[in-house]
């Protein structure tokens, strides 16, 4: 289903390295958000870093839009991309079982070995009662969430949707990558980016709606990137020449990219500085692209991402 949806608010949180000022700032922001939520009559108990990133990004997106929390809206939805962000939790469950037997397994942490626990924690804290999905698609997890949220709004199944991705890249994941033959997977890091999507005319929108998600497309298999971009352009009803800039959202962009756009009078290409943020990379690139283009500028930017298993995705944003 085609058509634009408004980006009413953006929340982005990230830590590039552990034990830094970024991490201290995160703790402070979490504490402030928790206090504000408590004043509004809700309490939230977060257990893992990936939940903290997701919750804080959701909080910031709502705050920017001017919408009060808790939402208590039966038609507000949430769609998150979460994948490698719970690998550490899963690994610690297995290690406890290995080292201590069944008695070592924690009934508190076991439910968090399910990916949708992250989405659920945000929904409980903010009282989101509408539709909810969690996509596990590696570096395209966050992209899939944005595409699904756009569809939910255009189908009239939600009044607004918090959508994006969250990750927490922990020691266990990096060790697995190393053993799988990818020794340069970087340091422990993490982040989340959630967009509050809705409609500009809605009564809840406070000055938002200048920025729009106008197209989305995916592809799988041979030439998946070309398929994704083609589907995205068609969804938005724009041509390649209308695009001001292309952002590569992930590290996994197929070699055919440079090839297929040869001969096109195309835009300049930039690689997102969050391309290594896996499930959060695509929405973080969207936020970065909007920032660079300038909100309200009307410039159209294309964000393209790929994943070695999940295929390719493309989104068009009118800044």
């Amino acid at each position: 289903m085609s058509g634009p949806v408004s980006i009413l608010g953006v929340g982005a949180v990230f830590i590039r390295e552990r034990n830094t000022e970024e991490e201290k700032s995160l703790e402070h922001r979490l504490s402030s958000a928790g206090e504000a939520l408590e004043k509004a009559g809700k309490r939230i108990r977060l257990f893992h870093r990936v939940e903290e990133f997701a919750f804080l990004a959701a909080w910031d997106a709502l705050k920017e839009s001017g919408i009060g929390v808790p939402l208590q809206d039966s038609r507000a939805g949430i769609v998150l991309g979460v994948d490698e962000g719970i690998d550490g939790i899963r690994a610690r469950h297995s290690i406890a079982l290995r080292d201590e037997g069944p008695g070592g397994v924690s009934p508190i942490s076991f439910p968090f070995t399910s990916h949708n626990a992250v989405t659920a924690q945000v929904s409980i804290g903010l009282d989101i009662q509408g539709e909810s999905f969690t996509y596990c698609m590696g570096s395209l997890s966050g992209a899939a969430a944005l595409g699904a949220a756009k569809g939910m709004l255009l189908e009239g199944r939600a009044s607004m949707v918090l959508a994006g991705g969250a990750t927490s890249i922990e020691r266990e994941f990096l060790e697995g990558m190393r053993l799988a033959g990818l020794p340069n997977a970087g340091a422990e890091r993490g982040g989340a980016c959630l967009l509050l999507l809705g409609f500009p005319g809605a009564e809840y929108a406070r000055g938002g709606g200048l920025t729009e998600l106008i197209g989305y497309g995916v592809g799988f298999g041979e030439d998946s990137e070309r398929s994704a971009v083609g589907a995205c352009l068609s969804d938005a009803g724009v041509s390649f020449q209308d695009i001001r800039r292309v952002w590569r959202a992930t590290t996994d962009v197929s070699p055919s990219w440079e090839e297929w756009r040869k001969g096109e009078t195309g835009p300049a290409i930039r690689t997102s500085s969050f391309a290594d943020m896996h499930s959060a990379s695509f929405p973080l690139a969207v936020a970065e692209a909007i920032g660079e283009a300038g909100r309200g500028s009307g410039r159209i930017v294309l964000i393209v991402g790929g994943d070695c298993l999940a295929g390719s995705a493309a989104a068009l944003v009118k800044a």
Binding site: V105, Q129, G176, V218
Partner: protein
């Protein structure tokens, strides 16, 4: 513009039909054949619970590699495509795959961490199987699917949501065909977790029965082939039924316990029925989530009362988890398949192992024996951790 969505193929593998024969599956469900047996896939001697519904690993074969969960998915997926006679009949770019799974390749990750000394190649192989999206990627590549290939994980509603997402993609005209379903396998990883939560039965699974004692883990895979009705007719496909509505909603109250009044489930059911355009009293059969836990059974009864009104007391409601255990990501897809077979044959399967009526579950739970009932419209519901709820309405063509 909305396109009618039909089902043209079913593929199921479960402990009751380890060879993947759908008719065998249906016959076993109808007679209430017990699938919950002593655990075989790992040593459960140090756990209070010693039962689960498993597919004997030697029956899965080794063809294609990828471990048990991959094999289950592969068998059900191929069966569904063959049942629909889909190969070469649809445009690959307008065909998609939606997979629901809770655990994905977690068995591989668990084995990697707990397996002791492993050879380098074995370690790499386990890590390649681990990512949640690896199963869908492998299935889609084998069938040359060129449209969206999605992996969704919404706890025990994953299979239902996968079919719901696929339904919308066709209904909105985005795709012509989607293979959708779910898969999950029993492992000590999940068994130990549910054991720690004291959720596992020590005897039998008894949904809606006063003397219920908890869930049993189950496993398997199920896929449906969904198609745009006009496409299916044009290519002469055999139409098994329609997906008529779908709804999803959150409880937003607790990570593991359902909302006591079934607020989210009721909302999902209402939304799914509204989409069909029929009144709630037109529902002829409900395939319940029916895990056999007190909170689920009571919550589900209340949700049915709230969404179906007085009809909730009259409509047959049954749970196949009594014999299949809880197959997590596969459960909702298996249950949707059962609804289609109930529509086809005019028979609703029983809630097996039922012993004692529970005043908190004042519904007709079809105790222990199948019933001949004309079924035109069936409702399949799922609920899971995280307050996740999903509902599908399936109908005769």
């Amino acid at each position: 513009m909305t396109e009618p969505v039909v089902v043209t193929g079913i593929g199921v593998i479960s402990p009751l039909n380890p060879e993947g024969d759908t008719e065998r599956f249906w016959t076993a469900i109808r007679v209430g054949e017990e699938g919950v047996l002593p655990v075989r896939s790992f040593d459960a001697s140090s756990y209070p619970c010693k039962v689960a519904a498993e597919i004997p690993r030697d029956m899965l074969g080794a063809g294609g590699g990828g471990g048990a969960v991959m094999q289950m998915a592969r068998i059900a997926f191929r069966r569904a495509i063959a049942d629909a006679d889909l190969t070469g009949k649809v445009d690959p770019k307008r065909t998609g795959l939606v997979l629901g799974t809770v655990l994905g390749g977690v068995v591989s990750g668990d084995r990697y961490l707990r397996g002791g000394a492993l050879q380098d190649e074995e370690m790499k192989s386990l890590l390649r199987r681990y990512p949640m999206r690896a199963i869908a990627a492998s299935l889609a590549s084998s069938a040359r699917i060129g449209g969206p290939v999605l992996t969704v994980s919404t706890a025990c509603a994953s299979g239902t949501d996968a079919i719901g997402i696929a339904f919308r993609k066709i209904r909105n005209g985005d795709l012509d065909a989607v293979v959708a379903g779910g898969v999950d396998a029993v492992s000590e990883f999940s068994f130990s977790g549910f054991s720690a939560l004291n959720a596992l039965t020590l005897s039998k699974v008894r949904p809606f029965s006063r003397n219920r004692s908890g869930i049993a883990l189950g496993e398997g895979a199920a896929f449906l082939v969904l198609e745009r009705e006009n496409n299916a007719i044009a290519r002469g496909a055999c139409i098994l039924g329609r997906i008529a509505g779908y709804g999803s909603a959150l409880d937003a109250t607790h990570l593991t316990a359902p909302h006591r009044d079934g607020r989210g489930l009721s909302s999902a059911i209402t939304s799914a029925i509204r989409e069909t355009g029929v009144e709630p009293d037109r529902i002829d059969y409900v395939n319940a989530h029916g895990t056999g836990t007190l909170y689920n059974d009571w919550m589900e009864t209340r949700a049915l009362r709230a969404s179906l009104g007085p009809h909730a007391g009259a409509v047959p409601v049954s749970s196949i988890k009594a014999v299949l255990g809880h197959a997590f990501g596969a459960a909702g897809a298996m249950e949707a398949a059962v609804c289609l077979l109930a529509i086809r044959d005019g028979v609703v399967p029983p809630t097996a192992n039922f012993e004692e009526a529970d005043p908190g579950c004042d519904i007709d739970c079809v105790p222990n024996r199948e019933r001949s009932v004309p079924v035109r419209v069936a409702l399949s519901v799922s609920a899971g951790f995280g307050g996740q709820n999903g509902a599908l309405v399936l109908a005769a063509r």
